[in-house]
């Protein structure tokens, strides 16, 4: 009893002592004066697809899900993996079994404890054919044991390689060795979901009045295609360190109108309208930011059955790649700090060193000379001009790039390049059916590791639109899954891709945005663009 009273007194003293600090509105670590109103309002261009971790499929929706739910691991400001619900993990010698130890103080917003069983339920829910999640394929990326058979309905969901050994121990069995498996657990589709709430409310469980979540925030309001609000979750295990009280999304479908409203003070963050980055950066140097992103813009060369004969000649593909002046594209067309690309995997990818491929070491004049030489050797020239068609989807940006590239090919190589513009879904269908010659494409990593890019050039990949097949690449990809140091494999794959040119990497993306200087804690160095509202705070002006 004596100890109990002492503990209460001590707790009261601590809370009294810390009270003035927070009341005075200073950041507990940096000492910065905090604004009285800790509300972060940002704009998105479109409504999210879902806030259900296993159903969400868009980037904006995933950002909401990261606030509402918490997975085994989170990312820090630099994109490194840090504990979430899991405190740590161990693995067996061949990296096929991972055992995660979960914290015992993680709570759902209704007060229930977050257990390993909640993860088991969520992962099985993701793999279940009845859930019919568009992100089911991520189970394949995670390489979970029996995932493929479970998804196809050939095995019961109970056979999936995930099991709660007890409330705080989750055991995961993989189909094969995979050294970077824990990285995949930062993905929103792997976050836990509350079985009891889903069973009680069905698909309505994600409505603000029904939702139960385990993240730093709870969903409090949603007006479709207008606004969404989330507020601090007092049950979150680390709520004491959360400063931002409320996060508000405003959906504005027009990027120019969004900028006007940002400048009028309606939002704290918005995007930079296409083509206005340089002007805006000059006008608002403290508010405009551009940081590397884990994405590559490229042109896919159709080497498949329906592809043109000319593109089956390596020299033609190489010539077309060499003749593209990437510097002009990034400096004169895009103008938002993008990086010229000579390899498919961006330099910003964790643990990846960009190999020195020949094109990257040459001047553009040298590249142009080599391109002309290669195309001539392939039998094309002014007397026998090469004709190609560039397919792109409706967008001013894609159009500008296609015009520039067609002009480069025309001027340097005499190539007759025509352009075909198609509406988005028609474009995707045309490409997937292989009815194109050169097609625009973009790829963003699903996790921060080079294989998320390089898997795409594997012959078995469903995303290999160019129908490129190379046995050495396939073997290197396979070996890299189990290797402690896959970099040599990645270097070799990039060298093969640079030589065979199944795709022409053009530039690596950046994330460009406006952010009010009063908002602090934004993880600019996180190349996946993964941010968590609980790390943000607003300083007093």
């Amino acid at each position: 009893m004596k100890h109990c009273i002492k503990a209460i007194l001590l707790a009261s003293a601590v809370s009294w002592a810390s009270g003035p600090l927070l009341a005075a509105g200073t950041h507990p670590t940096t000492g910065e004066a905090l604004a009285d109103d800790q509300t972060f309002t940002y704009q998105t261009i479109d409504e999210h697809t879902s806030v259900d971790p296993q159903l969400v499929e868009d980037v904006g929706g995933a950002a909401i899900v990261r606030d509402l739910f918490e997975g085994l691991y989170n990312q820090d400001a630099d994109g490194n993996m840090v504990p979430g619900v899991a405190l740590n993990h161990t693995t067996n010698a061949d990296k096929t079994v991972y055992t995660f130890t979960l914290r015992n103080n993680a709570k759902w917003s209704d007060g229930k404890t977050v257990t390993a069983g909640d993860f088991e339920y969520a992962w099985k829910r993701l793999a279940d054919p009845e859930t019919a999640s568009e992100y089911q394929w991520f189970m394949g990326v995670m390489n979970l044991k029996n995932a493929v058979d479970v998804m196809s309905g050939e095995m019961p969901v109970s056979e999936l390689g995930v099991k709660a050994l007890n409330d705080t121990t989750l055991e995961v069995t993989l189909a094969g060795s995979m050294s970077y498996f824990p990285l995949t657990t930062t993905h929103s589709s792997t976050f836990p979901t509350p079985q009891w709430a889903i069973e009680a409310h069905g698909t309505d469980w994600v409505k603000p009045e029904n939702i139960v979540s385990n993240g730093a925030y709870v969903l409090t309001k949603h007006v479709p295609n207008e606004t969404l609000e989330r507020e601090r979750n007092p049950m979150y295990w680390n709520d004491a360190e959360t400063i931002m009280e409320k996060v508000v999304i405003k959906i504005v479908n027009d990027e120019n109108v969004a900028l006007t409203r940002y400048l009028a003070g309606e939002f704290d963050q918005t995007g930079v309208p296409t083509g206005q980055f340089l002007k805006m950066q000059e006008q608002y140097p403290d508010e405009v930011h551009s940081n590397p992103a884990l994405c590559t813009y490229y042109y896919s060369m159709n080497m498949g059955e329906n592809g043109p004969e000319a593109l089956k000649d390596k020299r033609v593909r190489q010539a077309l790649s060499y003749a593209i002046d990437r510097d002009i594209i990034v400096n004169n067309i895009l103008q938002a700090g993008q990086f010229p690309a000579y390899t498919f995997t961006p330099a910003a990818t964790a643990g990846f060193t960009v190999p020195e491929v020949e094109a990257s070491t040459m001047t553009q004049a040298e590249r142009d000379a080599k391109a002309a030489e290669l195309l001539s050797a392939a039998g094309y020239g002014t007397d026998n001009p090469l004709s190609v068609e560039i397919l792109y989807n409706t967008s001013e940006g894609h159009k500008k790039i296609a015009i520039a590239i067609s002009q480069m090919w025309k001027q340097k190589l005499g190539v007759e390049a025509t352009m075909q513009n198609q509406e988005w879904k028609t474009f995707l269908t045309t490409k997937s059916e292989g009815n194109y010659q050169v097609g625009r494409a973009g790829w963003c990593g699903d996790y921060n590791e080079a294989s998320t890019f390089l898997d795409l050039v594997g012959s078995a990949s469903g995303y290999n639109d160019s129908k490129f097949a190379n046995a050495e690449v396939d073997q290197l990809l396979l070996d890299s899954k189990t290797s402690d140091n896959p970099q040599p494999n990645y270097t070799r794959i990039e060298e093969i891709v640079a030589d065979e040119v199944p795709l022409i990497s053009i530039y690596h993306y950046t994330n460009a945005m406006f952010l009010k200087p009063s908002i602090k804690g934004w993880p600019f160095e996180n190349v996946e663009g993964n941010w968590y509202s609980r790390n943000l705070y607003k300083v007093a002006k």
């Binding site: 806030v51 568009e134 394929w137 998804m151 698909t203 207008e226 959906i251 120019n256 879904k425 995303y463």
Partner: protein, 307 residues
């Protein structure tokens, strides 16, 4: 009259069914589907999704299932893109928004457009007439996708008087800019139409006869000219009202109202079949309804019209 209403309702049902069938076939004829994406789904995943939404069935079965769902449970199905919502929810949330700013725009357009057109016609070749014609031309060439950003620039950024968007449960501050942007071109069109129509009637022989008989000008206009002059205007008001209350993609996109116009266009782009069909049927039903109202109004304006 009752006979007309019964006949129209009887015709409306097959009309809506034809709209449903044509829309269904056109949607499925368009390349790509709701789950076609830049990262193509593995075949098994796609098969699971198609099975869940019944897209693995033959088209005629899908059409029957959809129609039965509507007729028996008034269920327009789930949205394929917005996983947390059904088409019923999207319409229930979006239609009142669209209807609110649509009705206000209608009121503004009718309140300003028709009187301005009447005054312009009655004072032809005066300053008032020149103003009305000038307004009509200017507003016609200033589409709402130009007007809307301009209004936000002036009233939100420069003057700081009104919010640049959002619905905010339909508060009047949020309503003003969308209503101005949407009603301006309709006001101009009504001004032009009313002016031209009244001028034509005023030049007709029976008006000349009425004046020759010595009837006061007020009586000539109110009793003999106004009603027939309103016929083309009324003809225009029906589809105009339907157009206004079924939503504007531009207004919804620029002012972030959450209205149906945005969903209608985007559902077509996303191949969100059920949303597109639901909104098409709603719009079709409203067209049928307001055409009936216009026809009834004809009978009142011109008793010579028989059905």
């Amino acid at each position: 009259m009752l006979n007309l209403i019964v006949r129209r309702v009887a015709i409306a049902i097959p009309t809506l069914l034809i709209i449903l069938v044509i829309s269904f076939l056109l949607m499925h004829a368009a390349p790509g589907g709701p789950f076609t994406s830049e990262k193509p789904l593995p075949p098994q995943v796609l098969a699971n999704i198609e099975a869940k939404y019944g897209l693995d069935q033959p088209i005629y079965k899908q059409m029957i299932n959809y129609t039965v769902g509507i007729l028996t449970e008034f269920d327009f199905g789930p949205s394929f893109k917005y996983k947390d919502r059904t088409v019923n929810e999207i319409i229930a949330q979006g239609f009142p928004v669209t209807m609110t700013y649509g009705i206000w725009s209608f009121i503004v357009a009718v309140s300003f457009g028709i009187p301005l057109g009447l005054i312009a016609a009655l004072r032809q070749n005066t300053r008032t007439d020149y103003f009305a014609v000038g307004f009509s031309i200017t507003a016609s060439v200033l589409p709402n996708f130009v007007m809307a950003p301009l209004l936000i620039l002036v009233f939100t950024l420069w003057l700081g008087l009104l919010p640049g968007g959002g619905w905010n449960d339909g508060s009047w501050e949020n309503l003003i800019l969308p209503v101005i942007a949407l009603s301006t071109s309709y006001t101009a069109e009504l001004t032009r139409l009313t002016r031209a129509s009244l001028l034509e009637v005023l030049r007709s022989n029976y008006i000349r006869t009425a004046r020759a008989k010595g009837l006061p000008e007020r009586t000539v206009i109110l009793r003999h000219a106004l009603k027939p002059a309103m016929l083309p205007v009324i003809t225009y008001l029906g589809p105009m009202f339907v157009g206004l209350i079924t939503g504007s993609f531009i207004i919804d996109s620029i002012f972030s109202t959450g209205g149906m116009g945005y969903f209608f266009v985007n559902s077509a782009l996303n191949r969100d079949y059920s949303v597109m069909l639901g909104i098409t049927l709603l719009a079709g039903g409203l067209v049928v309804l307001f055409n009936l109202i216009v026809d009834l109004a004809y009978g009142w304006l011109d008793p010579q019209i028989r059905y």
